[in-house]
């Protein structure tokens, strides 16, 4: 049950899920522990979170595999468990949601930097993503979401790895931008135009941005992508930027605040709207409702 690209092409706008990490921490993920370790130890928590988002209205639910590449897992000595960690994450989501919900495999940065800035060869990055995505695709997902990328080199290697593992799976690739006085750039200096072009060339079907910004900046980012890309755009916004209040982390954007910006996202060709850090099932419900209202109203 894929047909994702056909649905997007027909003009349908889909709602994706929200933050994962903060929900895991609420449920007891210990300080500094590897979030993907929980795939092995607490699959029931992953099922619960997937169910919460599906019930909230998410039509796309992500797997807890953001840090599931063996390069990233090796920080915790878990690279030997790469297959098991990724497979259990897919199974947990599948088990929790109904068949009409699309399962999206999250795939984040390796945490290592390519030469010459860092110490990793491109081949090592490619091999890491291929190993992770092979395990995921063998289990079966509806799309791959390569996200929170900052280096275009690593992002394109990830997209190419995904494409080499499957010629047909829909691939989304999103990067994280900061607003500077010269416009939006990733910390590595990548512009939205560069991202839109290079990610599509590498084989991404859907391009866009996640994390690093609240919804107002994301509206501007979507507009910029729309200028440089004909592909469906994916936006997963934070609920604002984290602030410290009485030693507690707070994200200030309410579900209503974020939902009020949905019409502007839709005007910019956004085909999938979800949440990132600080968003909750309530945010996802509000986003889904706003999408429906815009279409009927």
């Amino acid at each position: 049950m894929s047909g994702l690209m056909e649905r997007l092409k027909s003009g349908e706008v889909l709602t994706a899920d929200g933050a994962m990490g903060s929900l895991l921490i609420e449920r007891g993920l210990p300080t500094g522990d590897c979030p993907e370790r929980w795939n092995l130890d607490h699959p029931e928590v992953l099922e619960e979170i997937a169910r919460l988002y599906a019930e909230a209205g998410a039509q796309i639910v992500q797997t807890n595999t953001f840090g599931g590449s063996p390069l990233k897992l090796s920080h915790y000595g878990l690279d030997i468990c790469t297959e098991q960690i990724n497979v259990t994450a897919v199974r947990a989501v599948r088990k929790a949601v109904s068949a009409d919900v699309l399962v999206s495999a999250s795939c984040g940065p390796t945490g290592r930097m390519l030469k010459p800035y860092g110490d990793v060869e491109p081949e090592e990055i490619s091999a890491a993503f291929e190993r992770q995505l092979k395990a995921i695709l063998a289990e079966g997902v509806d799309m791959i979401c390569i996200e929170t990328m900052m280096d275009l080199g690593e992002a394109t290697l990830a997209v190419q790895a995904a494409r080499s593992v499957s010629t047909t799976i829909p691939i989304a690739a999103t990067m994280t931008f900061d607003l500077t006085k010269h416009g939006f750039f990733t910390v590595m200096g990548v512009t939205i135009e560069q991202a839109a072009i290079a990610l599509a060339e590498a084989g991404a079907d859907i391009v866009g941005s996640n994390c690093g910004n609240g919804i107002d900046n994301m509206v501007a980012i979507a507009e910029e992508f729309h200028k440089h890309s004909n592909q469906p755009i994916l936006i997963q916004s934070n609920a604002g930027l984290p602030e410290m209040v009485d030693n507690q982390i707070v994200y200030r954007e309410t579900p209503e605040f974020m939902a009020a910006r949905v019409p502007r996202l839709l005007e910019s060709g956004v085909g999938i709207i979800g949440g990132c850090c600080g968003t909750t099932p309530a945010h996802i419900t509000a986003l889904r409702t706003a999408i429906k209202q815009h279409r009927t109203g």
Binding site: I25, T31, G32, D33, H75, G111, M113, P116, Y117, G118, T180, K181, H182, F185, T186, V187, M188, G189, P242, M244, N247, I249
Partner: protein, 212 residues
């Protein structure tokens, strides 16, 4: 002096080979070691820091410039030791226990080294004991703590508490940095300062060792 300007310019471009060549030339011409350091390498890194802060350049440019700086610094180090030229101060840095994010910490290290400080980088996931033990044995002027995750922030407080216990609080200053932090948090846990970025960290550490 033109040679030193060239060192600074090539460092800014991130040309490791040229910076090493030019630094060797400066050494052969018997230019004062301190002046090669200050007016060549440190001057170049200061420009890089300013441009990065203004978003005129990005992380890759800074990392390449830092590599070029190290190439020059490696050549000067033996001379500095031989001539007994002290570094302007010593800083122990690391990402606190449980936190594996190190881009911010690495940048602060680069900026501090680029400003002439000796930097001991303990890496990621560093325990409070390791921070304090190292600061004591190395007689560090400042400890720099980095955290990106809110869940790892409490470790910073433990470092400050251990510094008090071991009697170096107030003598060895503690600065903190990382996305979720603030000056209020620094005040709450008894750290000496919160530094928003590498440039601010350099300013702060300079202030603590009495350089303006």
């Amino acid at each position: 002096m033109e040679l030193l300007q060239q060192i600074s310019d090539q460092l800014e471009k991130g040309d490791t080979v040229k910076v090493a060549e030019l630094t060797s030339q400066a050494i052969e011409q018997k230019l004062d070691t301190r002046i090669i350091l200050d007016n060549g390498l440190i001057a170049g890194m200061a420009v890089v820091g300013k441009k990065f802060k203004a978003h005129d350049i990005f992380l890759p440019d800074v990392l390449l410039a830092a590599r070029a700086m190290y190439a020059g610094l490696d050549l000067l180090k033996p001379l500095m030791i031989e001539e007994g030229i002290p570094t302007i101060g010593k800083v122990v840095i690391g990402t606190v226990q449980g936190d594996l994010h190190d881009i911010g910490k690495n940048l602060v290290g680069i900026m501090l080294k680029g400003a002439g400080f000796e930097v001991i980088d303990l890496g990621n996931d560093v325990t409070p004991e390791k921070f304090i033990d190292t600061a004591i044995t190395e007689q560090a002027d400042v400890i720099g703590l980095s955290a990106l995750l809110t869940t790892t922030m409490p470790t910073m407080k433990k470092v400050v508490e251990l510094a008090k216990e071991r009697g170096i609080h107030g003598k060895t200053r503690i600065i903190i940095g990382g996305a979720p932090l603030s000056s209020e948090y620094a005040g709450d846990i008894g750290a000496d300062a919160y530094c928003f970025d590498g440039i601010k960290a350099v300013e702060c550490v300079k202030g603590f060792v009495g350089i303006n």
